[in-house]
């Protein structure tokens, strides 16, 4: 029972912290983000397993985590509000070449981030060539070029 409760508690806590830390954290994997990810993974491993390193415990924990994930994905499809809360909503950062400064600031993004995504995805050179830049729920910036 303890293993299942540990898995559930850590899953929910991690979900909350990652979600509330903002999508900026997910958008660009900088060296700092990689270090953070590794440390968090190591820290949660201890909290998840405790002193029990048996295969039975590991299997139970893995099944629990997958189970929670499946349950959440089902709940999200049935309840749109929950999906919105867990995954968020796409945010338009640039519309017709004009950056939305308020949205950029709140999302902790800069025009440089948009330009980087525009270069990488579409080979664009200037902001005016961007029709739309959208911060997707995955944390990535998608670029729609002007015709």
């Amino acid at each position: 029972m303890e293993t299942v409760l540990r898995g559930l508690a850590i899953y929910i806590v991690l979900l909350l912290i990652v979600r509330l830390s903002g999508r900026r954290t997910l958008a660009q994997m900088t060296p700092f983000d990689l270090v953070l990810l590794l440390i968090v993974a190591e820290t949660t491993q201890q909290a998840l397993l405790g002193d029990d390193f048996s295969i039975a415990n590991a299997v139970l924990l893995i099944v629990t985590l997958f189970g929670i994930d499946i349950a959440f994905s089902h709940l999200k499809t049935r309840h749109a509000g929950l999906g919105l809360l867990i995954d968020g909503t796409p945010t338009v950062l640039v519309s017709h070449g004009k950056p939305n400064e308020h949205a950029l600031k709140r999302a902790r993004m800069s025009v440089d981030d948009i330009l980087e995504a525009a270069r990488v995805q579409q080979g664009l050179e200037r902001l005016e060539q961007v029709k739309y830049a959208v911060l997707e729920i995955s944390g990535e910036i998608s670029i729609v070029p002007r015709d």
Binding site: I17, S21, T89, P90
Partner: protein, 160 residues
């Protein structure tokens, strides 16, 4: 939704969520501050508490962590007796496991009142003993620790 872009953008929700994020960051900062102050256990100015059992002192964690090792230090006041008794109440023993005691007690007895440890000390000299403990349950653990028959209340908050 911008014209021509088929996108299910809920800006009103996003604005509220951005605000919630800022509140959450404040809460994160509070958690870090609480950790630095010792309010989450494992060191810090407020991590430990003291209780008096007569002239003897009991230094114990105010905040401990579930299944994490911690310690209780008993400072025996000078006394003519060579044997000093420490009694841990039944409730204490039910919720906190005793891993070790230094110095080793000459007797370690289980009684109806709880676990009694007898330490051999030099008469009329101050002495101390350290117990290594591990909380087995989370929550507020109120228990009684007695030194030479004088009881002291201890309250330990065990975080999960």
């Amino acid at each position: 939704m911008p014209e021509g872009l088929q996108l299910d953008e809920n800006r009103r929700f996003q604005e509220r969520f951005w605000q919630a994020e800022r509140w959450a960051w404040g809460f994160f900062a509070l958690i870090v501050m609480a950790g630095l102050l010792g309010l989450t256990g494992a060191g810090g100015p407020f991590a430990r508490s003291q209780a008096s059992a007569g002239a003897s002192q009991i230094d114990y964690p105010r905040v401990a962590r579930w299944q994490a090792a911690d310690r209780i230090t008993i400072s025996f006041a000078p006394h003519a007796a060579t044997e000093r008794k420490l009694l841990l109440s039944r409730r204490f023993r039910e919720l906190i496991s005793l891993q070790d005691a230094q110095p080793h007690p000459v007797r370690w007895e289980s009684t109806a009142a709880g676990e009694e440890l007898t330490f051999l000390v030099r008469p009329n000299e101050a002495a101390s003993a350290t117990l290594r403990i591990k909380p087995e349950a989370a929550g507020m653990i109120e228990s009684i620790v007695s030194v030479d028959g004088i009881a002291a209340n201890t309250v330990i908050l065990v975080l999960p």
